[in-house]
Symmetry: C2
């Protein structure tokens, strides 16, 4: 069974780890690239790396991001030089960025660099950037437009987001690899990532909505999961962001955003009473425990997702 | 007494440390930039950093290059990823490259970045790149043209050098800061660095020879030191490089290269018998112990150089 997951960072990574336990090389994770940034001349891909590190079993589960056994010699020395890095890159993490930047500067396509890194890290699933062209999320706040990581990391997601734009998205498009994986998929899963800034750019990318429509037309289920549980995001600012943009911060609010693309929607058991309202949108909806707190839970949730994809009526 | 030193890497750094002990902020070190390279998208300036680290008292005297108490977490992780970095950058050293690259990418002039790093490292002398425009040394070997660091680090200086070129030098020129320091100098010292690939690019840079001529015309001594002692380079391939290019690998061979620009030449005591032949070139020549094996020796040698500059007839 071949599955494509559309994923942002942490939520996408947890689900990817669960799915990989069942699917190994039959899983392709398409990651959001609109959070990517250049720091110190280095290409930093936060969502890609969160997924890749998690699939490589190298993620720091305590800290919730970055690599296990990370050290901070480079950043500490930058602090000695008077810099106050707001986006801290650990030593081991930096090696990834050096590895990648060297190849990108030599002219390699981002997709090929990602596939090379997958091989170097011995990751079974494919982890594909959604596009090879740069796309960048900006958010408009009461202080004006901010680049995404400026808002997310430097300002700790404190400002209210009034508007979101994906710079460069018109001239970007889903890669041939992404479209091929979607074309071969038996199921497509939209991860419980932030629907606005993680899944949003993927769905806004030229080629993706068309690819999803083609998949649905040949009977492939598109299963979306709510990252909002009991009205709150498990991690990150998705709940406040939904509210700031005039959406409802609830499973129903998320389902409305996916109503045109998903055939099936999964809410957490605590939101079971939202099922009728979501089904009224014309999406088959199922409620079960979706919290992926450890490896076992990730595999169980992913197993439930896959069963639902195989037997959408069950 | 204001002094300008024209310097390459290790030999230039040792002399700079000795001169700084006498002159502090009255010393300006103009460093070769033709060894600079881009690695992993980062701006790496080997000669500048060797001088800066040494002047900051952070150099690793045992290893002979790089920073004391260096660690290698990033390079070790790159090796885990399957890379075999031929140009190894330590974690602390990397912080310098990140600091610099961030500012260069933001559009700062290399000279301003160097001055900022001087402030961040609390270095008394100015350490100035010779030019803001990129200049790159290539060497022709029996295997064809190689970029300098490819020859120097990757191939361990094994191939015989048949020809040297400085790419970009026609469109580069000595910075305003370099020319201003030369214009204000009471003495100019050419370090005992490699005359071909360390001092060579500085002398070949448009503006430098004219600046030296102007200085000499107003009575400023230009004191050059031989980096060849007893026919051998203390460090590096200068001796083999001189021979490969058809020069004599000796103090006299070096003196011939500087005959047009230097007023005064210093050879090591072991080469005292070369003094008459060098004076026959029209350069006043002095022999004394020039080996700078420790801090005390560096200050002593620098003191002798400065005395010679003040009293050229002594």
């Amino acid at each position: 069974m071949k599955v494509v997951e559309l994923a942002g960072g942490v939520g996408g990574a947890k689900l990817a780890e669960g799915l990989a336990a069942h699917l190994a090389t039959d899983l392709t994770v398409v990651v959001n690239t609109a959070d990517d940034l250049e720091l110190y001349g280095l290409a930093v891909w936060p969502d890609h790396d969160t997924v890749a590190y998690t699939l490589a079993g190298l993620d720091d589960e305590q800290r919730g991001w970055g690599l296990r056994d990370e050290t901070w010699a480079v950043m500490d020395r930058l602090a000695d030089l008077g810099d106050d890095p707001w986006f801290r890159l650990g030593d081991l993490d930096l090696a990834t960025h050096l590895w990648r930047t060297e190849r990108l500067r030599a002219g390699a396509r981002p997709t090929d660099v990602a596939l090379g890194l997958r091989a170097a890290m011995r990751i079974a699933p494919q982890v594909l950037p959604m596009a090879d062209e740069p796309v960048r999320t900006d958010v408009r706040t009461d202080d004006g437009w901010l680049e995404f990581q400026e808002y997310f990391v430097r300002r700790h997601q404190a400002p209210t987001v009034r508007e979101v734009r994906f710079r460069g998205i018109e001239s970007a498009r889903a890669t041939a690899e992404v479209l091929k994986a979607m074309g071969a998929a038996d199921a497509i899963v939209i991860a419980p990532s932030n629907p606005i800034v993680s899944v949003g750019p993927i769905l806004a990318l030229p080629g993706i909505v068309e690819g999803l429509a083609t998949a649905r037309a040949r009977g492939v289920p598109v299963v979306a999961m709510s990252g909002i549980i009991g009205g709150r995001a498990l991690k990150g600012p998705a709940d406040r962001m939904l509210a700031g943009l005039g959406h409802e911060s609830s499973a129903l609010g998320v389902a409305r955003l996916y109503a045109d693309v998903a055939t099936t929607f999964i809410v957490d058991a605590v939101d079971a009473d939202a099922v009728p309202a979501i089904e009224a949108l014309g999406i088959r909806t199922v409620a079960f425990d979706t919290i992926m707190s450890d490896d076992e839970a990730r595999a169980r949730v992913a197993g439930d997702v896959l069963r639902l994809a195989v037997h959408p009526g069950a």
